[in-house]
Symmetry: C2
Subunit: 222 residues, 2 copies
DNA sequence: TAGCGGTTTAGTACATTGTACGATATTCTT
DNA sequence: AAGAATATCGTACAATGTACTAAACCGCTA
């Protein structure tokens, strides 16, 4: 038996839950979450809509699944390291994951039951705080505070109309027009003296708030 | 002309953009944003789907509109008051509006162009910070920080499976089951020693973070 | 080699959605 | 009373999620 030459150079990979979810993430990244339909997903995988239902129960399971894939991309903090460094690293890791997959922020609100990666992430973060000496109550406070800040920042970033750094002025120019009526002097001021300055990147605001919060938490440990 | 007796005791109110948006908000509050369809909205108003299109261009405009209605419910901070008090009040006002209308948080990410009420709210907040003596840059930092925290907190609150206070334990009980395997000891600890304590309300965590942030901002003013 | 049971993939069909297009009803002006 | 402007609706279509059903494929025994 010399060889059973495959008809196509790249035979279609076999389907699997992982491949379905992976392709769903890619499709959402490229075309937005609204463009992620069962039909478009099947097309992107070279198969037919109903084939996917062998691996996932329904579309909701796909949405839950891709949210958890995003959490799976985030490095876990270590209880062994310095808590402040670990929390700083974690915050940036979560933010950058949510920036790579902006649709995930919007899904957080609607998906109620967390996946495995999500739970592991929570657990590691809580463990790091507890190991640092925070009390149970203080850990809960700190965690709610940090996550609120990170998610909220990601939410604002996702809502920004531009994503690159220097396109800011191009996009904001027409909006600034709208302010020129003088109704919104303080927004104008912020826009012209801060946001529209060359090299401005909203992402840079992240560290200011993060450090302020970490400082506050340090202090509250006594 | 004695009276032109209306056939129905309560004649249908005339349609208007405001009434359409108001009913859309009510419907989303009652049945969730997914249940807000053109058809269900028309039904709830006693009219037919296509009639709504005289007042709104399309469904996206409805979504933009109801987000702005939510902002319209929020009292504006005053540049005349003590900035810290004003920011505290504003934070609570935003949070409670987003709690009344949890679907709004999810829409923030997808809707890009802000409405009038939203702009007025931004303007008043920025004005209050500038009047308090914050520099332009510092105002931008503070605003991004505060809004991130508020939105993020609201996002987490919206994702919570329960909404009343004391149903917490009922709902979390089955989840706690899932942790009993011992895989997630720290989550168990937080759950049993903090979240499941009678009278616990996640909303109470809000003030901790808010005060920590306001303290930090005070300090950074010098 | 033939046949068989489980696994995997597809085809067809239906209800629900947003909304384009055009017709109708209502009100106002002259 | 007639016509114009305003407001409402009926029908129809394409896109979506997915239930139901059938087909293809696989490794195996006989």
């Amino acid at each position: 038996m010399p060889d059973t030459a495959q008809p196509l150079p790249q035979r279609r990979l076999p389907l699997s839950r992982e491949r379905v979810l992976g392709c769903a993430v890619d499709l959402a990244d490229e075309s937005g979450i609204a463009a992620l339909t069962i039909r478009s997903l099947a097309r992107s995988m070279g198969t037919k809509p109903m084939s996917l239902y062998y691996y996932v129960a329904n579309k909701d399971e796909i949405l839950d699944g891709i949210v958890d894939m995003v959490f799976g991309e985030i490095d876990l903090p270590s209880p062994a390291g310095d808590w402040r460094e670990e929390m700083h690293r974690r915050a940036h890791a979560v933010r950058s994951a949510l920036k790579r997959h902006p649709w995930a922020v919007g899904l957080l609100e609607s998906r109620s039951s967390p996946g495995e990666a999500n739970l592991r992430h929570h657990e590691a973060t809580l463990g790091t705080l507890r190991a640092a000496g925070f009390s149970v109550h203080m850990t809960a406070h700190a965690y709610a505070l940090l996550d609120s800040y990170i998610y909220g920042f990601a939410l604002q970033e996702a809502a920004l109309p531009f994503d690159g750094r220097d396109t800011a002025s191009e996009i904001t120019a027409p909006i600034v027009e709208r302010f020129s009526t003088g109704q919104y002097p303080h927004m104008m001021e912020i826009a012209t003296e801060h946001v529209l300055k060359p090299g401005y990147d909203f992402g840079d605001e992240f560290d200011f708030g993060l450090n302020l919060i970490l400082d506050g938490l340090s202090r509250s440990m006594g």
